[in-house]
Amino acid sequence: MNDDCNDGDDDADDDDDDDDDDDDDNCSLEGNYLNVNMSLSSKQKATVKDFFSKMSTRSDDIGAEALSRLVAVYPQTKSYFSHWKDASPGSAPVRKHGITIMGGVYDAVGKIDDLKGGLLSLSELHAFMLRVDPVNFKLLAHCMLVCMSMIFPEEFTPQVHVAVDKFLAQLALALAEKYR
């Protein structure tokens, strides 16, 4: 049998918890009922916080690597960095900016219970100044997941992967909130 079968023990209650959490997390009846959109359960929020805490010693590396990989694998993303002398993967401005972005992601982890409210000014920045096409948030998220998987292969289980992927998707939605 494979190792993953035994690893599942800790997470055997995963889906049971999700059912209980649906009532308090996914049904915000006041205001925006369109909020029933793959939002995070309590258990997934805890998973995200836990994994990001484990990751914190390497967060700069992950941020720098992720942005490098974004501009390498999806060269069209370099269009946002035409003001840099060198926007190639691994260059100093790319690494530095990757670290900045990762800092923002960590900040968002702290605001995981209200991403839209907590990221209001960042959303305005992206909407009115940066105007990054939201499709690129997904591409960067993918590169971040690849780096997390490379650097933390044991910890980045499928259960952690889905929680982090959902979080990054929610983060992207919050950033695009003010776009139109």
Binding site: M1, N2, D4, C5, D7, G8, D9, D11, A12, D14, D15, E65, S68, R69, A72, V73, P89, G90, H142, L145, V146, C147, S149, M150, I151, P153, F156, P158, Q159, H161, V162, D165
Partner: protein, 147 residues
């Protein structure tokens, strides 16, 4: 026709030559079913997919993951004509299996994450570029015969 540099060919060949098809195939398909649960719609006859643990222990899923990876072999062996190599498989996925082609991209992303975990620092930027280029050609070929 897709152009491949010698370096890209070497990267792809090297990844496949070191690949444990069973391990990587199983892990990738399981990860896809867990991270993107709507993909489970295509696996109604595969037994228990109740939660992550049962998915990870499901032997039918494991076998199918291996099958998928061996299917990728064909692209490796025909890198200069992936489009035609997969014409029939594309029709199969469209007409018989009725798979939304966006799922190919989801599985490809999961495969990349699993390979990154396996290779660690050896999964360099250049490796990822070549690997994702290869997968995007495969994904495109598999979606090509949809009508």
């Amino acid at each position: 026709m897709v152009e491949w540099t010698d370096s890209e060919r070497a990267v792809i060949t090297s990844i496949f030559s070191n690949l444990d098809y069973e391990e990587i195939g199983r892990k990738s398909l399981c990860r896809c079913l867990i991270v993107y649960p709507w993909t489970q719609r295509y696996f109604g006859g595969f037994g228990n997919l109740y939660n992550a643990e049962t998915i990870l222990c499901n032997p039918l899923i494991a076998a199918h993951g291996t099958k998928i990876l061996h299917g990728l072999d064909r692209a490796l062996k025909n890198m200069d004509d992936i489009k035609n190599t997969y014409a029939e498989l594309s029709l199969l996925h469209s007409d018989k299996l009725h798979v939304d082609p966006d799922n190919f991209r989801l599985l490809a992303d999961c495969l990349t994450v699993v390979i990154a975990a396996k290779m660690g620092p050896a999964f360099t930027v250049e490796t990822q570029v070549a690997w994702q280029k290869f997968l995007s050609v495969v994904v495109s070929a598999l979606g090509r015969q949809y009508h």
